[in-house]
Amino acid sequence: MIELSGVTKRYPGGHEALSDVNLTIGQGELVFLTGHSGAGKSTLLKLVAAIERPTTGNIIVNSQNVGRLKRAALPFFRRNIGLIFQDHKLLYDRSVFDNVLLPLHIQGFTGHDAAKRVRAALDKVSLLKKEKVRPITLSGGEQQRLCIARAIVSRPALVLADEPTANLDEAYARDIMDMFRAFNEVGVTLIISTHDQSLITRYGGRTVHLAYGKLVQ
């Protein structure tokens, strides 16, 4: 499903965030992406989501060469991916409900069906009771769950989560990991970046380790 071959990413300014990364991730896998801060985890996820383009190398996602996607094709590519950002990227000027509605709205779903799907997603992350409030009034864990609801509402086959349990206490982190496991069990491919080693030892699964932009076997 995802194949990186010889991927190097150099940011403007010359910093090489990823160096010659080769990686294959199959359909339905649950992969933890680990590494120190600055190792290149976020960069790798951004490359897969076509938010950044590789300097060299190829990234194939669903048999599409991500680095070569035309600007006009990007929106349609991204609709197949559920993105959970490190910095949330919630919209604080609208309700919890409207935040989750946005991806559906973008894809042209409106009205009753859309509302039903939004509520189903909010229900999965136990935020149904808070649909009318503004995200700013939510706790850190709730905001993270809201991000998850927004990422899964359009039922993507691939979910990329960038440090979804950072800044959360144990119980919250476990909640969220249980959710991800449940998605994985219904066939969703997940890549979760984290630097929380205890989480990985508890949940197992495949681990991909990055150090200074290089894959460590």
Partner: protein
């Protein structure tokens, strides 16, 4: 089809909400656009009226052909008949030297005429042209000067030429002003949209990240620009209407003073509609460019 409609309605709602969220700023922008629209529109209206006023006067333009001293009344009458037959002549009337003197006497100049030993006036033919455009008058004048027995052609038409030149200048001015202020209108819109985009950049970024097309992002801004342009156009139309109401009385007074009847007419409906369509389109265009630029910037990080 239904989803498409829902989308557009949604974009419209967003656009209207943005007006609501900054009513005073929106009002000022609309007013500025209104003034930008009112200037060329008002000038256009004035020119239109001037054209009409001039049109009411020009048929009275007369060309007097003075005959050579040796030409007699018969020659003059023949010439008048000849000219009368021409397509570009409305009427041609023979005025004998005696009639000429009588006119002077009637005008209260008998003191002068009494002192003259002999009637110094030549016979004349007074021609009223059908077409009063400067080119047609020129052509007719040349023909008259060459007709048999003609000594001198007196054309009281310089002012028509001047007026016509002035009107042409006015039209050029309206055109230039329209182009300039149209550009200003688009620029004003682009600027307000730019500020809005700045306020909405989080939303634009998030929307792009989760799969929004350029069109989706652009649509509410386009509505906003179009509505702002339309409101500005309406304001401009209202300003012109107000201006013409204020001028109406003084124009009437001037007309009465000249013994004429003249009613100032405002902008007609087709012109107004064209004005509104144009200001809407320019607002839309300003928004389009502004958002396009912002989208490219968001993409670059």
């Amino acid at each position: 089809m239904k989803a498409w409609l829902v989308h557009h309605l949604h974009s419209l709602r967003i656009a209207l909400r943005r007006f609501q969220s900054a009513p005073l700023a929106s009002l000022f922008t609309v007013l500025v656009i209104g003034v930008a629209v009112a200037l060329p529109a008002g000038l256009y209206m004035l020119l239109d009226n001037l054209d009409r006023a001039a049109g009411g006067i020009t048929p009275q333009a007369e060309i007097t052909v003075f005959l050579k001293r040796e030409a007699d009344a018969d020659r003059g009458q023949a010439l008048a008949r000849e000219l009368q037959a021409r397509a570009d002549v409305a009427s041609a009337r023979f005025v004998s030297k005696q009639e000429g003197i009588d006119k002077l006497v009637a005008a209260g100049l008998s003191d002068i005429t009494a002192g003259l030993p002999d009637n110094p006036l030549p016979h004349a033919v007074v021609v009223t042209p059908r077409d009063t455009s400067p080119a047609a008058l020129q052509a007719l004048g040349e023909h008259l000067a060459q007709s048999e027995g003609a000594e001198r052609v007196l054309m009281d038409t310089e002012w028509i030429k001047r007026l016509s030149a002035l009107m042409d200048l006015g039209r050029d001015l309206v055109f230039m002003l329209s182009v300039l202020l149209g550009l200003a209108l688009a620029a004003i819109t682009a600027n307000t949209i730019r500020l809005q985009i700045y306020a909405q950049r989080d939303e634009i970024e998030v929307a792009r990240l989760i799969g929004a097309t350029d069109r989706f992002v652009r649509r509410p801004f386009l509505y906003f620009g179009g509505i702002q342009g339309l409101a500005g156009g309406l304001t401009g139309g209202a300003l012109v209407a107000l201006g013409s109401r204020l001028l109406e009385r003084s124009v009437e007074q001037v007309a009465t003073a000249y013994g004429a009847e003249f009613v100032l007419s405002g902008i007609d409906l087709p012109t107004l509609l064209a004005l509104l369509a144009l200001s809407t389109a320019l607002g839309w265009l300003g928004a389009y460019f502004s958002v396009g630029q912002a989208l490219r910037q968001v993409e670059q990080g």
